[in-house]
């Protein structure tokens, strides 16, 4: 009887210690976040990078990749999104490029040539080891934007109206989450990217 009581007490104390230890250990919290949903295979694309090289989504198999849509002439909201991604790029340290990449696709390919994208990327401190800025034919851009669920429309004066959408694709090419707008939490974004490396 006494042995059973001691055993029960030991189990309770062990469980309490385990809970306390876990509650003090932030990295282990993160591992208990529900995994990101698996939405669907991410839409493929075949476009051209800022240095004129062909780039496809398949090139990123084995890496986590964030795919977003930009236009360099946008002076209101895009200058919020790209610096935020640049900030996250720096936070990712050695994982950036080796395990995690960013892809920014222009939705204004008539204006955003490879040269324009290169200058734009450099002005925001983009590290080309892990970050590509892509352009293509208007048809190819329209197609990929639509398949990712981005709305873009060019007015007669050349202005482009568009929605902001940043998608995270896992190393198997599966679309896992999308961020609406450009004011999302960069820490949550970074955490989601890293969570896919641990799966």
């Amino acid at each position: 009887m006494r042995a059973a009581l001691i055993l029960a007490l030991a189990v309770l104390v062990t469980a309490a210690c385990l809970l306390l230890a876990l509650s003090r250990d932030a990295p282990q919290h993160a591992s208990l976040e529900p995994p990101l949903p698996k939405i669907a295979p991410a839409p493929e694309f075949a476009l051209t990078s800022q240095d004129g090289a062909p780039v496809t989504l398949a090139d990123y198999r084995g890496k986590v990749v964030a795919v977003t849509f930009i236009l360099t002439m946008c002076t209101t909201t895009c200058p919020i999104l790209t610096p935020m991604m640049s900030f996250v790029q720096d936070q990712l340290g050695r994982d950036f490029g080796a395990k995690i990449s960013f892809v920014s696709i222009t939705i204004d390919p008539e204006r955003d040539t490879a040269d324009v994208l290169q200058q734009y990327a450099q002005s925001f401190g983009a590290n080309f080891a892990g970050w590509s800025f892509l352009t293509g034919t208007p048809e190819a851009i329209r197609d990929v934007a639509q398949r990712y669920g981005v709305y873009a429309s060019k007015a007669a004066n050349g202005d482009v109206e568009h929605t902001f959408l940043t998608s995270i694709v896992d190393p198997h090419g599966i679309l896992r989450v999308q961020y609406l707008g450009m004011r999302f939490d960069p820490e949550e974004f970074r955490r989601d990217l890293l969570s896919l490396l641990k799966e």
Binding site: P34, P35, A40, T77, G149, T163
Partner: protein, 336 residues
């Protein structure tokens, strides 16, 4: 110590949600998201520009696989709910109580998300400073049972008035109650964009209640996405795609109000760019993730009971006429 306690609570909450979400091991397989079961979608179109996301959603619906997107003319009140129930339209963003009344009457409508708050403004003559001051005054409405009649009745009942006896309703189906108010023929009037914007620009009357900012009305969804129940049952993939497009359109209204206003003018939904832009800047379109849509159903069901317009328990309506599974999925898939 408090920090530790809060962390532990958060840990336990996270543990619960992780278990609920199937943390035991994510499946390695992923199916291609099903295409919509139908490529035709019919949405309501009426004189209210408050439901802006519904008017700028076209391109996003195309991106979801819909090729035939139709706008069907409706009124902005009970007629629209009936057209939804009868299947003349598939989805609409509509004022919550105007959905609940026909739902209680057995109409086949399902509410699938709360989308935005606000829209309505009660404008009145100078000596009316509160809802209670409406006692014995004339209030213009297009007809009894319309959105404005139901909303003013609910507000009146909420402060202890008997809306049927204490308010002199002036029914004006042919002449806009806004014009009656502008001409000094009624004491108060409740409108939705673009009319309040127009009257404010003309400096006529003053705002007694603005449901975008005044509590409790601002704490609950004005407009919820509702669908024909049979359509939702037959077309779950299309339903999820419609909701996703509407939520993205709502975000577009927040992130680029000028662009959204231009889209509404270009699409022929309004001719008044300035009022559209003003509406897009004033109406809080950024709440779809924040508020619990069930709270809105409970709140409005109780207000309608106070006003003698329905008899049902809110929980009965929630059980029979809401379907949050699409919203719950999209809250995980669409962050921001």
């Amino acid at each position: 110590m408090m920090y530790t306690m809060q962390d532990r609570r958060r840990f336990l909450a996270t543990l619960s949600s992780a278990v609920a979400a199937g943390l035991i091991g994510p499946s390695n397989s992923v199916a291609q998201e099903a295409p919509p079961e139908t490529t035709t979608i019919r949405l309501a179109r009426n004189r209210s520009i408050c439901i802006a996301p519904q008017y700028v959603v076209g391109g996003l619906l195309q991106a979801e696989g819909f090729t035939d997107i139709r706008y069907v003319m409706t009124d902005a009140g009970m007629g629209q709910s009936k057209m939804l129930a009868s299947g003349e339209i598939d989805f609409t963003l509509h004022f919550s109580p105007i959905l609940l009344i026909p739902i209680e009457a057995g109409e086949k409508i399902s509410i699938i998300a709360g989308v935005h708050v606000g829209c309505f403004e009660l404008l009145a003559i100078e000596r009316i400073r509160s809802i209670a001051d409406l006692k014995g005054k004339t209030v213009g409405v297009p007809d009894l049972g319309t959105s404005s009649h139901v909303f003013v009745s609910s507000m009146a009942a909420h402060v202890g008035l008997d809306p049927a006896k204490d308010i002199n309703w002036v029914r004006s189906p042919s002449i806009s109650p806004m014009e009656l108010f502008a001409d000094g023929k009624i004491d108060a009037w409740l409108g939705f964009p673009p009319e309040p914007q127009e009257l404010r620009a003309r400096k006529i009357g003053h705002v007694v209640v603005n449901s975008s900012v005044d509590r409790p009305w601002s704490q609950y969804y004005c407009c919820m996405l509702a669908g024909n129940r049979d359509f939702i049952r037959r077309n779950p993939a299309a339903t999820k795609r419609v909701l996703r497009a509407i939520l993205k359109a709502t975000d577009f209204c927040v992130s680029d109000p000028a662009g959204a206003a231009r889209r509404m003018v270009d699409g022929g939904f309004t001719t008044q760019y300035d009022y559209a832009l003003q509406t897009l800047k004033e109406v809080p379109y950024n709440k779809w993730r924040e508020y619990d849509p069930e709270d809105t159903i409970r709140f409005w069901a109780l207000r309608l009971r106070e006003a003698g317009m329905i008899k049902s328990n809110p929980n009965k309506i929630i059980a029979e006429a809401t379907d949050w599974r699409f919203l719950n999925q999209l809250k995980r898939e669409l962050k921001g």
